[in-house]
Structure formats: C-alpha cells, structure tokens
Symmetry: C2
Subunit: 384 residues, 2 copies
C-alpha cells in the first residue's frame, strides 16, 4: 500500500490522482492533501479519503476547514497552511509518495523538501524542473529518490528510455500538437485574440498552459524539463509536431532504433504509471490500436513559434535564463489575456527579459525564487 | 570481442551480418561459416574473415573448397559438410554467438545444437520457431540461453518488451506491409500471377517469402513465432497493416501504454541489435524522424487473407499443425510459382493439409522433421 501526499489535490491532476486511488484501493491510500484556496473541495476530499493532514493556502482558510471538520464531527485530520503547511504534507513521515501538482513555482519548495525527505515524487509541475531542475535532480541523485514525470510527453520518454542505457540515447523527440495556429498565416499572428488562443485542439487544460500551447512556449518549457529530468543536452532534444497527440513522445538511440509511446490522451495514465512504477497495473485506460488509421508529423516552424527558439537558447544558458523564460512568459500571458499586449507580444516580452537577464545559476531554492521575482519585475516593468 | 558462427553466411542475412562485422571490427570476428552450396561465396568470405571452420552442403563441395584453399595457400581453415558440418559450426567451442540464418527447416538441427551447447542465438529463421518453437524455447530456458530475434517485427517486439514485465503484456501487435494485394478486388485474387506476387512494396526478399508476404502467410508464421519467442497465447497477438513498414511492431501493456519501435527498413539494424544486446552500439543506420510525415494503419481483412486465419488456428492447436502450416505453404507456393495452382490455391491447399493433420506435439527435433515430411507429402499428394 502506497500512502500518497497530493500537493494540488483539487486541481485537475490532483483529481485525476484521486480517481486512480479510487480505482486501486488495494494499492493506494491518501496521507496528505494540499488544496490551495479551495476549502469546499478540500473538505469533500477529506471526508472521502481521510488523510492525516490537509493544507490550505492561508491560516484563515485552514481555520475554516477545521471548523467544518468540527461541525461534521470529523476528528483526526490535522489542518495546516501556507508554504510550511504544504511542506508538512510533502514530508509527512506516513507518506510514501508525493504527487507534486501545484501549478507554478509555488510548489517548488515543497517538492524540494519531499526529495530531501527521501520521498519518491510524481512530478506534474513543469515549472519546478524549469526553474530549479539542477537543484532538484542533484538532490534526487544524492538521495537516490526517483522523480517520475506525470506530464504525458516526459512520461512517454521515461518509458521509452527503459529500452536502452543513458549513454545510448541520441535524441529525445517531444511531440507537440502544434496548437490552434499551426497552419495560420504568419501575418495573422499579430491579431490573435485570447478567445482564439484558449481553444486547444486535443487537451483541455488551464488558461496559461493553453496559451503556452498556442505559442509553443509550453513545449519550450518541456525541452528544458527534458534536459533536466533525463540529463541530456539541449542539442539532444527535438520537437516534432503531431496533431493527433497519439504518440506522446519518442526516444532515438545511437544504434538507430526509435521507441515511441502511444496511449489515450488521459492524464490518469501517466499518473498511474508514476504511482505504480516500476510496475504496470491493469487499467481500463486502453487505446484502440485496431481503430488507429493514420498519424501525421511535421517539423515545427521556428519563425511561426519563436518561443521554441527562445527556449532552446535559455536551455543552453541554463540557470537564471530558464527561470526568466518561465517567469516572463507567465507575466506576458497574463498581459495578453487582459488584452494589454498582442499574441506576438508574448515572445517579444520574453526575448527582452532574457536579453536583460544576467547569466547566473542559483544554487538554492531561495536563490531560484529571488531570480524568479527579478524576472517577473523586469517583465512587468517592460509591459507597464 | 564476440566470435560469431554464421549459419547461412552467403544468404542475405549472412551477408548483412558480415557487413556489421566489417563496421565493428573491435566487437566482432568470425569463427565459423556455413554456406550451403555456394563454394565461390564461401571461398571469398573465408579469405576475408579467416574463420576456423567452413561448412558446405555436401562432401564434394567441401572438398572443392579445401582444394581452392590449398591452391591459394590458405591454411588453418577446416572444411566440413552436411548437417553434421553445420552443427559443428553451431557448436564450435570458439564461437560465442550463433547467427541462425539458414532458410527453412534445414537450419533447425544446428540451431537446436547451438542452444544445447549454451550459445546465444540470433534467430533469422522463422521456420525454426514455427516448427520447433516449443523444443527450442524449452532448451533455451533450461540453459538460460538468450534467443534474439533478427526479423524486424520480433526484434521490435523484443525491444518494446523491455519497458515492462512479461505478466504486464496484453497484446503484441505485429505490423504487416499488407503486400501488393492489400487493395485488390477480391474477385481478382484467383488470377494473380507469380510475377504480380513477386513484387513486394517495401522489402526485397527471397521468392517464397515474397509470395508469403502477398498471401500474408508470412505474417501468420510470425504470429506463431511471436507466441513461441515471447511465451504468449495466440489471442495475445494481433496484426495491423502498416503499408510504410516504418513502425516495425508494437507491444500493448495492461495499463494501457503501447510501445512502438521505428527504424529504417534495413536488416542490419536488427542484426546489430541481436549481436550487441543488451548494448546498443552507435551506428549510421539512422531513421530521419524529422522527415517523417505520416503513418497509416488499417485492419487486416481475414477474407482477403485466409492464411492469417489459418495461422491463428494452427497457433491455437500448436505442434504438428504449426509444422504443417509451414510445410504445406512451402509446397503450395512452389506449385503456384510453377503455375500449377492459382494464388488462391495456396490457402486452399494449406487448409486441406491442416484438416488432415492429426493433433500431435513432437518432443524431439527428429519428430519435428518427420512431421514436416508427412505434411509435405500430404501437400504434394493433394497437388498431384
């Protein structure tokens, strides 16, 4: 029985994780939940899963939850709050596995703490790896803690890598849907609206990640994540556009063999893989290969998607440049969604922030967070 | 340094194996060659590779080769002949690895002898596994000898299987080009000529295997081979038609993940994989994934390809029925190429021979060979 600490339990990945726990009650139980600002969701999940600890964003919210527990006659569930609360969940002695699914750098400290505490981590938060990948992977190596990627691409890569040695990997090929503007005329990009950018052809996701998918900055973050997670150079990562999102990624080995992973587009599958690794429990998340008719691939156009180029440049420089790529994008996407800058303003903002970023490699999480704040301020100043 | 015994050295797989030895002189050398009736080829290969032993089909041919050696002043190469000669090559103490690439059941005894002698085998001869798979795999298990499949489909499966446990395999999906008659109207099948059947869309191969590819009996043999090699039930093997022959096969796991292997259509790649396993040496046999545009798949039509149905039926019964499937097909294809029966006469002949085959499971190679002779006689009698 694996007892899980789920950081971000009321988000999409958190809910999918709980649906896996529901399907495999003999394998998984819930030790801790961190649920941000969602008291109602945290209350309902607590009643269903009876964790030892629940964390919310603030002291007030935690007090509200504790009062709901008292009213309902629920005892034995501790309520905690803030970053310290999330860290308490991530390092709970009873927890055997931590699902890190808090969006953004907010989940960074807790993920780091989980690794330092020797907990295997299922990582759904790509910003963690982009901003602090060097620190997290060094800690994981030192403590021999596995980090299992939960996004579909890196999860696919993790699977494909099992057929060869690390030194035999030539290229990691990340697939990308290409987003809604894969075939739009270049001169139309300036006038793309938030409504257009928020339509994703295959996955239903949050607002920032959907816009990131349209600019392909999302894929850029995944390039950096792949370099960190799998210890490869940026030149060993490539992107291929695959509109069907059926092949989730591929790994090319030095002998010439390429391994690809195919499955349904359902996040429960990479979650199950991460939770159960190295085992594969039988699930109903099947892909009907007999009904597969055709798969298309095309080369990404770096002119159409300058964010891809910027991501490769940031990946080469590492450290503060990766932090700035992510931070500047989040600020720029916010400005785009508020109609303060055009769609093409997103890469322009990132490029300017990157150009103003001094080369640096923060060695601590505090240093990463300071670098992240600097980049956000720089982006906001640029957009003011 | 691995010293190879190559059974079938002057055939297509034998030559490709030697080209791998040529590319990796620090990894491989040649200990023994078995070359059938090709004195000229055996002589040239011997001069180049200086094996310890060379075997030819008959005493006369071996004597001719020995005389060529004397004339050329070559010493230290022993010439042997016949089945005993091939077995001597396969069991040579100096050989570390045996490439079994003699077509048909002729290579069976030597392959069995290699396994009994504890030699790892690279198996390019699918008839061995179809006719005597139960015996060969039992011997390999007992002696802990790896059998590395050299045909592209099973080699792909072998790679994909590395990402999970045997108990986690749900379905092995063999890809098939579908041959030249994938889209031909059903009422045209009766009048297919040998010339039409000998044109294969993607691979250049021998005559029988090209016709077998057109009837899909070839894929049928591979279904049986997969059951034996990977210890799965016939119901765990399926076929998907994939005209590009880019995906060489796939493995579906019980959790819902499917792994696929992609590479160029060049037999040197599965040969290198088998020779080097579990390592992957860097090679120039690369597939340009960046140039990949689309992959098509379709369901095989069992009415169009009755040989597939017959193969599944034979796989379920095992033993003598698998032997008869292969033997009857070889006789029927010969008759088709001599224009004595129509294309559709091939499955009709096999079906009749299978119907007349008593259920039996030969436990010795001699028993397999006797069963093979019986089936051939039955097929010949039917066609007389």
């Amino acid at each position: 029985m694996k007892r899980l600490a789920i950081l971000g339990s009321t988000g999409s990945i958190g809910k999918s994780t709980l649906s896996i726990v529901e399907q495999f009650p003999e394998r998984y139980s819930v030790a801790a939940l961190a649920a941000g600002r969602n008291v109602e969701g945290a209350f309902a999940q607590s009643l269903r899963w009876l964790p030892r600890v629940v964390s919310l964003a603030t002291e007030d919210l935690a007090a509200e939850l504790a009062s709901r527990f008292r009213q309902a006659g629920v005892t034995g569930i501790e309520t905690v709050h803030g970053t310290a609360g999330t860290i308490a969940c991530a390092t709970l002695p009873e927890a055997d596995f931590v699902v890190s699914a808090i969006v953004g750098v907010a989940g960074l400290e807790a993920t780091h703490a989980a690794i330092l505490a020797g907990k295997p981590v299922g990582l759904a938060n790509k910003e963690c790896m982009v901003a602090a990948g060097e620190i997290l992977t060094a800690a994981a190596r030192e403590r021999k803690v596995p980090i299992l990627p939960i996004d579909s691409e890196h999860n696919a890569v993790h699977q494909c890598l099992r057929v060869g040695a690390h030194s035999e990997v030539k290229t990691i090929w990340l697939t990308a849907s290409g987003g809604p503007f894969r075939q739009l005329a270049l001169d139309q990009f300036e006038s793309i609206t938030p409504e257009q950018a928020l339509k994703h052809p295959t996955w239903v996701m949050g607002r920032r990640i959907t816009v990131d998918s349209a600019t392909m900055l999302n894929k850029g973050l995944e390039i950096i994540e792949a370099c960190r997670l799998f210890d490869v150079a940026p030149s060993q990562v490539r992107v291929t556009i695959h509109p069907q999102s059926t092949v989730h990624s591929l790994v090319e080995f030095v002998d010439g063999s390429i391994l690809a992973q195919i499955s349904i587009t359902d996040m429960r599958l990479p979650i199950l893989y991460a939770l159960a690794w190295p085992e594969r429990p039988a699930s109903s998340l099947t892909f009907d290969l007999g009904a597969l008719r055709h798969l298309e691939f095309e080369q990404p156009d770096f002119e159409r998607f300058p964010c891809l180029r910027l991501a490769f440049e940031a990946a080469e420089k590492g450290g503060a440049h990766c932090i700035a790529l992510n931070a500047a994008d989040e600020v720029a996407v916010g400005a785009f969604l508020e109609r303060r800058i055009p769609f093409t303003g997103i890469p322009r903002t990132i490029e300017k922030v990157l150009a103003a970023t001094p080369e640096a490699h923060p060695a601590t999480i505090a240093g990463v967070l300071a670098s992240d704040r600097d980049a956000r301020e720089r982006a906001r100043a640029l957009l003011a």
